[in-house]
Symmetry: C2
Subunit: 120 residues, 2 copies
């Protein structure tokens, strides 16, 4: 039985229930792909630089493990579901793959959540 | 009960029971490492050439898979147990990682087995 003395507080909308307008979705998709491209370009550049420096076969096997790990990480991190997108953006913002300017066009309610989560 | 009518034939010594003299072992070890180095150098060279040509991230992930597969293959193929070494040498001979000259110093009984297995 609910406790009738529980005070009624204004809980923020859970992240998974936020509404994304079509314009916000377009902005989000652009930001997502910009970050993904930036990160993949960085991996590519590092892989090329590392490979050029390799002299020993053990370094080549380490490169393979490193690439497999990067791929797994990217696949896991870049999850384009609106129910988790603010958290995805928070991580990308924190790690420098996105700037706040990249989030232009996304509503303030979501920006606040993203900023807050990025500082956690 | 053994059949007393079974003719006695001279069976060749099973490969795993061949005797390797210390000098043969030294030659075998040298040949084994020469082939391994040759194959690893080829993998290294191909990895560097492939990486330099890569333009798309999917090719980079393919390279990682290719390297992981090469490593598994090399680990499996280069098995330095005398009980299997003639078969290992047969494969290396067949695939061009060893020449017959590389097997100098290894007894004719083993060379015959290696040649025979290489043609199978």
């Amino acid at each position: 039985m609910p406790n009738s003395l529980t005070p009624i507080t204004r809980e923020p909308t859970p992240i998974r229930e936020l509404h994304w307008s079509p314009a916000e979705k377009a902005s989000a998709r652009r930001a997502f792909h910009r970050a993904l491209k930036k990160e993949l370009d960085a991996i590519m550049q590092e892989a090329k630089a590392r490979t050029a420096r390799i002299e020993d076969i053990s370094e080549l096997w380490e490169l393979a493990d490193w690439l497999t790990e990067r791929r797994r990480e990217v696949d896991h991190k870049y999850d384009y579901r609106y129910s988790v997108l603010p958290l995805v953006f928070a991580v990308l913002l924190r790690d420098g793959w996105l700037s706040e300017a990249d989030l232009d066009g996304i509503g303030q309610d979501k920006i606040d959540r993203i900023r807050h989560a990025a500082m956690l």
